[in-house]
Symmetry: C2
Subunit: 380 residues, 2 copies
């Protein structure tokens, strides 16, 4: 079985699995805010995890706010920014995740904000000039991702950050697909907020981190008993947060895998294109994550490819999990100006840092057979 | 070791632990919203868990919205109610959890709402007449708990619900300490919203349920890609949600434990009072949860008792986890009109449905020794 839907959700990393099974067996369990020794022990383990996460992500300890995941992070970052401004322009891009798109829409609907989606170039990179042209005095926030979930195309987030800092506009950087797949340094990046989800990097489900440049400015959307320094209420998902540290530790120890994975992915794509010159790799010329290939055989439906691969025990998706159920060109691809002929044909192959790079060989063989089979059917 | 801080956080129930270890070992892991078979498998398991939770909690399937816990539930319920009304009065009680108090305060600060905390009787039960007297045409919501986290006193939530329904005022019922400790039937209860946290009933941390009478009226605070029918964004914490079903199943199968536990708790309290007639049991005359005793020896500091018990490997708290760190009379006890002499002396002994009732014997012996020791020191 080959699981190639890491961008949708990563399986628990083996280190995390081992850690968690031992942790669940041994305990202790307690409310980390409790006064007794067991509570302190749980708290210390959680704060130690925070420390590891902070170090790995290039953030200060206090800049790490644990939460349930990137979607909560995005909602919290927007809430924090929007409650401290009367400005009305929200700038996003056309390739943002629905967590960002729908949150921006919420402020349009409820507070009369104007949402502008800046242009994306055909290679999948957002148009920096268009961004600069749209930032005006009424701009409340810019929210743009560091890497796209469908194409894996890496965005010029450092330049966006620099631009926003110069213009004094808060920048929310959606790093959900970036963290754990390539190096990220929050403080060097300069964004006001960055977000992540544990389940995308092999940690426990229901975990995440909001990174905040100035944590004092975070306004909680989950209000509670003062947990996370008053920035996120509710008894902490400490068992899960500990696994964030385990997964990020694993990532840091296996950084070399990135290059290996990247080379293997390029080799896979090259061989695939040699066999099938018609094949389109989305964002081919742009810098991409080591482990993502978004590929289409024009005229062959992506869902047919996906099903065929699944019959060979290879699990991929046609686009992101959220838009999966609609057999149409995704909004990301539309923003890139991709035709429906290609757009409906895509499958996303995404593996992880823990994956064996040799699985690209198996995928190549299976995908080749699939394309051969489906083009034959098509030609009948 | 005796863990007697279940009201703070319950250890993972043994069934949950066994389930989770097997689940983590076997997989599958996938995004429940993904198109492939692994995704469907994860989704089906999650929806099956929702079904079990709905049945156990007396709710319809669609009324069960998974989230990260009760605090998120409270914040979401308030947000849902407050965005559909222009009314300004929020009624809570003096014994509410800080999740409720601080959420009400948020609407006072941000939207000029008036927050009224109705009176509590000395026995720890909220004053129904005072509630009725305060519900007026401008009342946006009533948010009152079903059982108190410190005293374990069961509140007249059915009467509150009836009253609110008659007056057409939305009722948020904080059932965090109620669910999993005694029978609860959401639809029969009649509340508009009820909340729970998995970690209070032996399920995985970071899990919870918002029960909504009319789920269509829920307005998400975590906005995302349409998960939980658009009522709670973010990839679901499916591994955790499955354990909610396991824990609630355990509860349903061990309902008989409640009476056994209740009898043992009453026996414990009776014997303790026989030995130490000075001892005050808070909410003694009120109906209480089977497993909670909030007890004080006037003039002896609760923290001293807690530390002494801890030295005997018995873990209790002085009050709720959130106010633990302040050696003062808790706001719950203040609302009950309890003197500082008693209020500073309390320890909370709370065990769970999975606990061996015989641990009350050990606690009785240890607490007796503790009181004897500390009264001696006091008399020097």
């Amino acid at each position: 079985m080959i699981y190639a839907d890491y961008n949708g959700s990563a399986p628990l990393c083996q280190d995390v699995r081992d850690y968690l099974i031992k942790r669940l067996t041994d305990g202790p369990y307690a409310n980390p805010n409790a006064i007794h020794h067991l509570g302190s022990k749980v708290l210390m383990a959680m704060e130690n995890a925070r420390s590891v996460c902070a170090k790995t992500l290039g953030a200060d300890f206090k800049q790490v706010i644990f939460n349930s995941g990137a979607t909560e992070g995005i909602s919290t970052a927007f809430h924090s920014v929007m409650t401290e401004t009367s400005k009305k322009r929200i700038i996003i891009s056309g390739i943002e995740h629905s967590a960002t798109v729908n949150t921006a829409k919420y402020y349009a609907d409820s507070q009369g904000c104007e949402v502008i989606a800046i242009k994306t170039k055909p290679n999948g990179i957002i148009d920096l000039e268009d961004l600069e042209a749209h930032i005006n005095d009424d701009t409340a926030v810019v929210s743009i991702m560091a890497a796209n979930n469908e194409t894996g195309v890496i965005q010029p987030y450092l330049e966006i950050s620099k631009l926003c800092n110069e213009k004094g506009v808060p920048f929310i950087c959606d790093t959900t697909q970036f963290i754990g797949k390539t190096l990220f340094h929050f403080k060097n990046c300069g964004a006001d907020y960055a977000v992540m989800s544990g389940h995308k990097i092999g940690a426990m489900t229901g975990t995440g981190i909001l990174l905040a440049k100035d944590p004092e400015r975070v306004k909680p959307i989950i209000i509670g008993g003062g947990q996370e320094r008053g920035k996120r209420g509710g008894t902490q998902h400490y068992l899960g947060y500990e696994t964030l540290a385990v997964a990020l530790n694993y990532f840091e120890k296996h950084l070399d895998n990135i290059e290996i994975l990247n080379n293997k992915r390029i080799e896979f794509e090259t061989k695939l294109k040699e066999k099938f010159p018609e094949v389109v790799i989305l964002g081919e010329d742009a810098p991409r994550l080591a482990s993502t290939t978004y590929v289409a055989y024009p005229g062959i439906h992506g869902q047919a490819v996906q099903i065929e691969l699944e019959s060979k025990e290879i699990f991929v998706t046609t686009s992101s999990a959220c838009s999966d159920n609609e057999p149409v060109t995704s909004k990301v691809l539309k923003a890139m100006g991709v035709s429906d002929d290609v757009g409906r044909g895509v499958v996303r192959i995404s593996i992880g840092l823990c994956s064996d790079p040799s699985m690209y060989d198996t995928i190549l063989e299976a995908l080749s057979q699939t394309y051969e089979k489906l083009t034959k059917i098509k030609s009948y």
